[in-house]
């Protein structure tokens, strides 16, 4: 029991000291506190009251211990604890932002900014809604977002004067910043509005090769031109590009859209000052390269000879079939649209007609085009542009089969893609061609500026015996030539 004068510590500090001393072995009761009436009452309750004469300015140190040694040690520890000073151990800056809203809050309000959402689809709407509420556009890479949520987001975005790219939007370029799967494309006068990722990559790469380049590539998600969504983002993207000084021409790139929506988009586009051309895939307009060439004509530019590496020009064995193994969905569609008139129905996991659906048998006989990027084949694994495993297995399967075939592949370069796709593909092609006569045709989608460099990849693939084309349409036609089925 001690009373000390001239010592003050605040009650929190003293409660901490009491707790520390109370935890010592051999100490049964402790109270270290200013000798206020309340604390004296507490001490009395513990049988540790001072004999009297205490005043509230004094520090009361009351300890009950088993023996003198424990008491002395406890009192020494009281002094040590009172003398200790806290040290800063961290900083408030370490608090992470948990939501897009919190992250956007930290940015300057007048500078351009974009949110990217790639969280599981069930949770994407809340993050995207944060961006809209903050007056920012958002790219939603997530798939599995219910279509009614997509519509609600795009309506809210329209009201707020911002754009929702996606959901399931894998490709965009905004003022030269490549987002997701996108290529290093020179800046230029053409703005793309794309409901198709690999379609946008094909078109933007060809424009780069033609020396033209793009202003922006605004992805809108594969469902935007469906009846349900009604082109909400496409219309907003067109309106934005119309006011963008860097954009002189616009190309709308899409898989087959809903007819009513096409009409609405065309009507809207007709009211804009910027000329709008469409590159929407259909049986009547099956060719993205042709759409690019038409745009070049609009611009008064010459159509270049699209880069290629001629293969060994070997003819396919009699009765050979087309085996198209794709990573890009739009490119697979384009190949089927171009080849079907010559080959008849092509079976696929993403067929042009429902009765051509492959089911789960990806090694069926006959003409096949498989889209390995389809959602059903990417569950639990990375996109085939990153992880080639499934497609390499399929190539080995074609080689092992008795069926004579021509192999048609796409290889997509750029940000987000495999840093060296030829590195994995070349040994697989060599092994396949060692087993049997197997002509290989590759649509190599990329630019010279891509991290993988178009010509370096093309040379490696050509050295493995593949014919390589920068245009998927050209590659498909070449494969048809080899099959003796050109149209």
């Amino acid at each position: 029991m001690q009373l000390r004068s001239g010592v003050y510590a605040d009650s929190v500090k003293l409660m901490q000291v009491s707790r520390r001393i109370g935890a010592r072995d051999g100490v049964s009761a402790v109270l270290v506190a200013m000798a206020t009436p309340l604390n004296l009452e507490l001490a009395e309750g513990m049988g540790l009251a001072p004999d009297g004469g205490a005043s509230p300015e004094q520090l009361l140190i009351a300890v009950r211990a088993e023996d003198d040694d424990a008491l002395a040690a406890a009192l020494a520890d009281v002094d040590a604890a009172l003398a200790e000073r806290e040290r800063s151990t961290g900083s408030a800056d370490a608090i992470p932002h948990r939501t897009i809203g919190a992250g956007l809050d930290e940015l300057a309000h007048d500078a351009p900014a974009l949110a990217i959402v790639s969280v599981p689809g069930a949770y994407a709407a809340a993050e995207a809604a944060d961006a809209i509420a903050a007056g920012r556009s958002v790219l939603v890479f997530s798939d599995g977002v219910p279509v009614e949520q997509e519509v609600a987001l795009k309506r809210a975005a329209h009201e707020a004067g911002v754009l929702v790219m996606g959901p399931d939007c894998g490709t965009a370029i905004v003022s030269g910043v490549a987002l997701g799967f996108a290529n290093v494309v020179r800046p230029g006068p053409v703005g793309l509005v794309a409901a198709s990722g690999t379609g946008a990559q094909q078109v933007s790469c060809l424009l780069d090769m033609a020396g033209v380049g793009v202003s922006h590539v605004l992805g809108v998600g594969g469902r935007d031109l469906s009846e349900a969504v009604g082109g909400l983002a496409t219309l907003d993207a067109l309106a934005a590009l119309d006011t963008d000084p860097a954009t002189e021409r616009v190309l709308v790139v899409s898989k087959p859209p809903a007819p009513a929506v096409v009409a609405a988009v065309e009507e809207f586009a007709a009211g804009l000052s910027v000329p709008v051309r469409s590159a929407t895939l259909s049986a009547e307009t099956p060719d993205l390269t042709a759409a690019v060439e038409a745009l070049l004509a609009d611009l008064g530019r010459d159509v270049p000879e699209w880069p290629s590496r001629p293969g060994p020009a070997e003819q396919a064995a009699p009765g050979a079939v087309l085996k198209g193994l794709y990573s890009g969905g739009t490119l697979a569609d384009e190949a089927m649209l171009l080849a079907s008139p010559a080959l008849g129905g092509i079976r696929s996991n993403t067929p042009l007609e429902p009765d051509l659906h492959l089911g789960t048998d990806l090694s069926a006989s006959g003409h096949l085009v498989i889209d390995f990027g389809d959602d059903a084949l990417t569950v639990g694994r990375a996109h085939p542009m990153i992880d080639p495993t499934l497609r390499l297995e399929a190539i080995a399967g074609v080689a092992a089969s008795d069926e004579a075939a021509v192999l048609l592949l796409d290889v997509v370069l750029g940000y987000g893609a495999d840093p060296d796709p030829a590195g994995a593909l070349v040994p697989a092609l060599q092994a396949a061609r060692a087993r049997k006569s197997l002509p290989v045709v590759v649509a190599l989608i990329g630019t010279e500026g891509d991290p993988q460099a178009w010509s370096r990849q093309a040379d490696a693939l050509a050295a493995a015996g593949a014919a390589v084309f920068a245009s998927n349409a050209a590659a498909t036609r070449y494969a048809l030539d080899l099959l003796g089925a050109s149209t």
Partner: protein, 472 residues
Amino acid sequence: MSLGNLLSGPPAIVAAGVDVFSEALRAQGADVHDVDWRPPGFGDPADLAALALDARRAAANRTAVERLLAAGSVLVDVRPAREVIGLTDRVLLHSGPPLTWEAASGPMRGALVGACLFEGWAADVEEAEILLSTGAVALDPCHHHRTVGPMAGVTSPSMWMWCLEDPVTGGQAFCNLNEGLGKVLRMGAFNEEVQTRLRWMRDVLGPVLSTAVRGSIDAGNDPLDVKGVLAQMLQMGDEGHNRNRAGSLMALRELSPAIVASGAPSSDIADVLRFIGGNEHFFLNLGMPTAKLALDAARNVPGSTMLTVMSRNGTEFGIQTAGTGDRWFTGPANTPVGLFLGDFGPDDANPDIGDSAIMETYGVGGFAMAAAPAIVRFVGGTVPDALATTERMYQLTLTENPAMAIPIMGFRGSPTGIDVLKVARTGWLPQINTGMAGRIAGTGQVGAGLVQPPQQCFEQALAALAEEARTA
């Protein structure tokens, strides 16, 4: 359509989700800010999306926040509960969501028994327990009467109430007078010492304060701006819930002239001034109804996901939201973690109790922890921990209250307007600073510390708000 400047130059990127994107963007030299996104702490994904996409939500929350921020609080009167809220004999108010005697915890029972003795409804504890257990004395939450009460919050007809008014809406809120620390009714103590103090408060303190407050206003003085005192105390090391030292001294300073002028015997005046000056939490009972006024102003805004009440009765924690009116969402109250008086320990502490979490609901208390770093040491924390707590609460709230500036945060307004949706999405629960009552009736205060609400309250509120959004 300019897309918010999007196309005017290379955009800064804020990314949530897989980080492969961000790496590719950094490789291009883009300005990338990664969000530490986690799956929400709770809630059905469809409910979260329904609320996130509710077209009413942004405007509704803006309305709720504007009302909260606009509300003022002035002290207009001190009157007995019987007169103020028409509290009749044989009715006691208590803190938190609705409660039965059977479910009441030790300190709540102690306070209820103490109030029956104080009112003279029972001659002894046994008699009081019979009245309470048979329903002869009815229980009702303070919150159902525009009233708040710290800890047990037990308010009986003869207790004097602070009467506060919001000059903006004319709304009113009430709270009884603070008894001080240690063995006090609100902490569940009810012995003769408690009864003596309650009688003195009834017979001396209440009348003196009443005369002083009315007299000052009648003399043409402005009523005491309680919100102004609350704002100032945040600049002086208080957070307005567990630390009210500066606020109590300022209230004493403001009230003293009128108390002295009340005409009461000088010995009574000396007792009153000594009592107020000796009670570090005297201001809490003025701060709480100030917060209550602001949150009541934000009630009944369809589509708003903002909390209007967080409150505990010692058994359950209850919340209400602006979008769901008077409906309670409850879960079992947690037990605070903190420091203990004397040789009390964690086993002596009762689960969380009191309406005082109205302070956090208002954006002070635990939310303004950075203003009062002393508080965080209750759980062995450091000054940076205090800053981090407030920093984290900004991600749970809809706005910053410019009237409640926190000096060390660069005078940033305190994080205000707790959003049920943000609580779910961050997985962070509100931080509450609180006193601790002994779990045995009659014990009184055993310590003080920090606590969080049970997640169940927020789960129920989220589901109810989503349901309401779907049918709206």
